[in-house]
Symmetry: D2
Subunit: 315 residues, 4 copies
């Protein structure tokens, strides 16, 4: 049985694991991310690789990170949460570890993990995944392969136009889906609702110590599950927007399955119900035809390690 290592470089933690070909994580390790320091971040990665590889026969290493990766999967062109700019990460890790290395965008890694070993493992050809974190990431699989793009930057699903002249996105455009169907949007909607209707949002505000500005995503999830009407509506609002973008993906790519991942899916049907409703309404024309089912992701925050390791296996 061959083993590979997957590394998931986040803004606060670097996670790593030794993964077998069934997607099982045999060993797991984790370090803090020294995000502002390029050299230290590289060293945390190589330390983690050597720790995980010690005493094992490892075939290859996959590294996933938020950011733009060049088309050859060797260089991180830009990473929003890290100091990396045109960072030749593949060669650095490969030289240090003596192993073949692949670098991949985190949204692609998560999608690949779900396609191979998670919510879309029954699909053999195509899937699209939205990862709803602070922002919105994406990954696309067609013909059994990740769609990486001519310049390496495909599946930037968070920056599809949703509301012309809408809310300013960090990318400079007005009205990207990331401003309406992300964790940040969920919190923004919830804070606004709590300021406007403090009495109706009493349960949510209590979790936040009475301060609308202190509301976080997990608080909205907890309050929604407890029946707080404002939190339930906020998830429905996010779900409506998300459903329209999923419908766009069905129109454009007609995949076998659509997957939604990220912390927000802990809200379960409070998010997925409105999402599916909006999706089906948007696809009115297709009511006579089969369309992709929407599934919640299954691998949680292990997807980064599993997907990176599996991509390494396929080099």
């Amino acid at each position: 049985m061959t083993l590979t290592i997957g590394i998931d470089v986040g803004g606060t933690k670097v996670a790593g694991g030794v993964v077998d070909e069934t997607g099982k994580v045999l060993v797991h390790a984790r370090r803090d991310t020294p995000a502002e320091d390029v050299a230290k971040t590289r060293d945390v990665i190589t330390d983690l690789v050597s720790e995980l590889a010690a005493g094992r026969s490892i075939e290859a290493v996959g590294v996933g990170a938020a950011g733009w990766i060049d088309a050859s999967r060797s260089t991180v062109l830009f990473a929003p949460n890290l100091a990396w700019r045109d960072e030749p990460l593949r060669d650095y890790v490969s030289n240090k570890s003596g192993l073949p290395v692949i670098v991949e965008n985190d949204g692609n890694v998560a999608a690949w993990a779900e396609f191979r070993h998670g919510a879309a493992r029954h699909a053999d050809d195509s899937m699209v995944m939205f990862t709803i974190g602070t922002g919105v990431g994406g990954g696309i699989v067609l013909g059994g392969e990740l769609v990486r793009g001519a310049h390496g930057i495909a599946a930037e699903l968070g920056h599809m136009l949703t509301v012309p002249d809408g809310h300013q996105c960090g990318c400079g455009r007005l009205g990207c889906i990331e401003q309406y169907a992300s964790g940040s949007a969920l919190v923004r909607f919830a804070r606004a609702a709590a300021r406007q209707e403090p009495n109706r949002a009493a349960a949510l505000l209590e979790l936040a110590g009475g301060e609308a500005e202190a509301i976080t995503g997990p608080m909205v999830t907890a309050a929604a599950k407890g029946g707080d009407p404002v939190s339930i509506e906020v998830f429905a609002q996010v779900g409506r927007w998300l459903g329209t973008s999923l419908a766009d993906m069905a129109q454009i790519l007609d995949p076998q399955v659509l997957v939604v991942g990220g912390g927000v899916i802990e809200a379960g049907d409070l998010l997925m119900g409105p999402t599916r409703r909006s999706y089906l309404e948007s696809l009115a024309q297709r009511s006579r035809l089969p369309v992709a089912e929407i599934r919640p992701a299954e691998l949680g925050n292990r997807a980064g390690v599993i997907g990176a390791a599996d991509l390494a296996r396929r080099m």
Copy 2:
């Protein structure tokens, strides 16, 4: 040298041609479409095939038609301009002609033609094409192959959401791009503008005999080329919307090249200028990275015959 036949079934004409492997149309023929009569439409196709095949060694036949084609490329599930419903067109034509047959959606056919022999022939991997006719069709090539979708219905680019709660689309959804960047939209915008500002639109109205309701797409093109300010603005309006959808495709698929086809491109830079401007504005974030160039289609209305014939060659 092998030859194949391409058939392009439109709402008013059925065109056919014998095409060689360089995309050259050696013989061309054309018939009226008896659109309301399922059996007669089939017979026009088979007559045309036997006429074109007579005395030649033909390898295969490709048929392109507006509509939804099933995933096996044999059955027309639904054709908006014809009476076909679940029509087993492939077997019918194959039985009559004794040749292998493939059936394909017209947007896909046009995209394939441009990818192989037209505006995107320099691309070896990926392209996305918008065909702007009465409606908006699309075709996507990735990894050197058409993206057909898990249910056969990919690349329905006309039905991406553009304006939430916007103009009612024939598909039942509000605000599809087809309502803002199609030939119908161009005419709708032009008529509205001519009603509102008859003096400024004098040149356009003169072409239409003074009647705003009589304005057609070719009139808008002619007037715009002649300097009519209202017609120029109307093309700019369509171009702005089109540019945002092209930007969405760059974000989602990051193809090598983007192609715009259909009758509207006869307006040249009057359409393509505002389209490119809007596209680049929408991709602000990517200004540091290379993005796909937007090119006008090159094959005009021969794309249907050329693309269908080339797809037949690849069966």
Copy 3:
């Protein structure tokens, strides 16, 4: 006690009444509207006036009609449902009846009736009323007087912009509130929802004999009251849009009270609940300040007669 006559000219019926100064309708009469015939419509009005005036001491006559009335309240410039164009209605009725006559827009008449004797009778200074029929009409009272406008055409509240580039309005503009918060919009939303989700909309579809296209406004009201989820959502949708326009009126005019009238208010809290919620959300900034309360109209279809008669009294 002085008496006046109010005439309410609708597209299908002409209603008339003798009204006292408390707003009580002492006698009521009604005729069919010969809508396509200018002369006959005038005669129905004058016949009705002479019937109602017979044997009574009448001071004046007020006539309300859908359409644009000139600033002197004597001429109907344009009536969408009748053949009148620049019709000098005041002088005609006055000459025939020997009584002073005033002509007023129907939205203004209804608003005046509610201000004087209906939902806003406690207000002494200002109110704004939206009348939600097939379209959206309006009336504004400020300083205890109707706002008629410099050219006689104020309070065309149905044509405030709501969705830029939105659904085409009959007025030529895209995205007027009339396309989102009218009876027609309610029916359009309901039909679309029933086509998309026939199972969920079963109760509504049953009322319409199984045909989405046969759904009418009263059916949606009946189904919503009976618990049909699709009909309930459709009223909520209309209410959300209506609430945003009511909020605009609070921002612009800060009236004492806002009134919503028309057939849709029979849905009660199914409409008014979402309307009020949307209104308060839109006025987030004002949460520290008092704002106008939203009330349902109280006079129903008698408002036209009562308001016209009361305006006549005040000439």
Copy 4:
């Protein structure tokens, strides 16, 4: 001839003047605003009043300030740029000066000045004014009187909904006109355009020392006047939005005249042209009827002093 004093309390300067009944400013004075200090700001006002009143027979004092004024025009409920909260300004200034005092919102003051002595002085009944500064203020005159609202807060024209789910406004709502047609919006649009197309925006960027983030409103005006295409487009963009809101005011209030004031009007036809075009397009339905003309304000930054003084005269 009677004289009154007008005081214009801005975020950085307090201006004052002695004004005669023709609107002429006989004496003018100005101080810095100690914005963060409630007591000092009051004292600057009373010092200025006593300086201006010295040796003259003054009838009354008018004070204009950004913020919400209570319905009795005595208390500043909230002032966005000053520390005032429920500040009983009228009584304070009246007690110190021994003169009658009126306090009024700055948008209302400017509108009143233009109605009486500026761009709308030919109107005897009604006008609506938009003041385009950092934000968007407004003032409405109907029946020859300012519309102050039942709770004192009418004419908050900056907070009309323009883009549903649009750009976040400081008021908590998404998509207010203030986010699209204000000086801040102009600068936001210009900076975004300069980042995206630095070459086309070269002239503008040169004024800003090469830094998009250093672009200010006056720079955009100067560059537009000098022919910079990006700056010209940015004014056109603001004008298009402004025109739709002016059209809404024509639909709602049908005033005699519409006035646009604020620093942006220095751009002249570069702003007013697109504004008028958008206004007329939005009023398509009314093409057969007269509508209010749009005029640029004439009194510039003296409007605050002149309007406040004139309102004081009318107590």
